[in-house]
Symmetry: C2
DNA sequence: TTGATTCTAAGAATCATTCCAATTACATTA
DNA sequence: TAATGTAATTGGAATGATTCTTAGAATCAA
């Protein structure tokens, strides 16, 4: 799949904003992402990209995806992969979001008021039946003085 | 740490609902989770649990945690660990939640209306500065006929 | 107590991802 | 255009979290 001139310009601009070069491989991965608007895994992207560029390596696909995320053209459907964390199940009708502090790595509970929950339930289109909801934020938490959770 | 009688009853009831037994190891892991309300990783739980029960194995901690999640006493802070998926970054001020269908494994985009985003921003306590938000649902999507995304 | 079943322990296996060292490609200056 | 320095790519090894496997231990029902 060839990248349109327009998309190439978008890619070039985004990359050069961060002092990065546009390369054949980065164009390929970006083009792969553009060509089908689904939510492929790295391995799927690798397989698709190899159709056009048989020599591309998996490590490069990982690198290119990270680069695209860094320069704001793509995003990860799940936040970074790290060890799964556990907590006790909250009481019925009580909901917490989780806030991951990027500085400390700690996880904080954020209470979600009932009206927000109600609103979230309403955004689901017909036919979608959600059994679990996960809301999480990533950013900076208040400076560490008190003993907060991890 | 000893499990209170009350907590032991809670555990027993939850387990027996699913035809599962209460064992020393399951009590230990549950007790570990109860003793400190943070968001420990499996490995942290393993380390803490070993303080009381030096012979418990990591595999058992994994098993017990899965069991506790299955019977509704605990939950994972992040949904199941699987390959990271990628998509193109949406336009500014346009937000999508992701819906994971537990039958097909496919991921669907759910548009989040602006008022909901505004509401979500307001639930953050003073001092928390969220840079990214991830909202995801898990459940069943409408039956597969049309070509939906993955 | 017996027999059947469930659970645990320990280590091997798996899988996604990152790291590393050796090329290769690129942009710039001479 | 050639030389040079930097950035990017490769391919394989390494890592880390999690699951699998198998044998043995514990528990339950009769």
């Amino acid at each position: 799949m060839k990248l349109s001139t327009e998309s190439r310009v978008t890619l070039n601009q985004a990359l050069s904003q961060y002092g990065l070069r546009s390369t054949r491989q980065r164009e390929q991965v970006y083009s792969t992402l553009l060509s089908k608007h689904d939510h492929p895994t790295t391995d799927e992207i690798y397989t698709r990209a190899k159709g056009d560029m048989p020599t591309i390596s998996l490590a490069t696909v990982y690198n290119c995806l990270n680069t695209l995320v860094d320069c704001g053209l793509a995003r990860q459907v799940n936040f970074e992969r790290e060890s799964t964390r556990y907590c006790l199940m909250e009481a019925k009708n009580v909901h917490y979001a989780h806030f991951h502090c990027k500085h400390t790595g700690k996880v904080h509970d954020i209470h979600i008021p009932a009206p927000v929950i109600a609103m979230l339930q309403k955004i689901m289109p017909e036919g979608f039946n959600a059994e679990k909801v996960e809301l999480c934020f990533r950013g900076t938490a208040p400076c560490e003085n008190e003993s907060s959770e991890d």
